[in-house]
Amino acid sequence: MEVSWVELIKLLISTGVCWTNFVLIDTYFGLPRKPGVLGAEVIGKTLEKMGGDLNGGYFMGNIVCSPDASAGTLMAAIFYYLLGFKGGLIATLLVYIGNRLCNDPGYAGTFGTFSATVIIHLLSGFIEPRYFIGGMIMAIFTIQGLYHVGASKVLGYIGRKLGMI
């Protein structure tokens, strides 16, 4: 099989767009400031003991424990790929209900899904929506799967730079 360079460039651009979207929205709605539930506090304390940053650990724990803007971006990409622009609006409703089931006020997930839908709709002339699914998986792999201590340091630095801690 053949993998062309155009596909790789599209994947890299969509990775950057998804990463910027969910990190900025999650930081703005205060995920690194405090742990919402007990599990996020455990993950943050453990990552601090391993040599990372405490607020970045709270960020990663909140992603694990409730569907925030990261899950919202993935759901928006999937539903835009299957149903078009109306699918993004349905994904907003589903992510809101899932947020409330996981004991969260639901601001971050809802705004993240809606902004991701608008961005995918604006960029859909150049990049097809299926590349955004792969880009979101790549973006979540760089945070949760590659090297946890370094990722928590980067997230803590971004949160401190934006003045949200």
Partner: protein, 86 residues
């Protein structure tokens, strides 16, 4: 032309929510709904669901516009925030 129904449902839900007496200011940390936050997104999502399953007309738009502020008013009774008890 079809996007006019979406705008109409959002406008009806905002007017009904203002009549019911939902609070205007936005508090990020509380579990209660206000005039803008769940109301607009619930109205858009329900309109999209009805658009895919059936066809849109004025009756469905009016029903969605009445239902979504009521859902937003009682949202802390439907999905309450749980305190784990220390």
């Amino acid at each position: 032309m079809l996007y006019l129904y979406y705008i109409l449902s959002v406008v009806i839900s905002l007017v009904v929510g203002f009549i019911i007496g939902l609070p205007v200011e936005i508090d990020v940390n509380s579990f209660k709904g206000n005039l803008f936050f769940p109301t607009v997104f619930v109205a858009l999502g329900l309109t999209a669901v009805i658009d895919i399953l059936f066809n849109l007309n004025l009756v469905f738009t009016l029903l969605v516009g009445i239902f979504s502020p009521l859902f937003s008013k009682y949202v802390d009774l439907i999905f309450p925030g749980v305190s784990y008890g220390g």
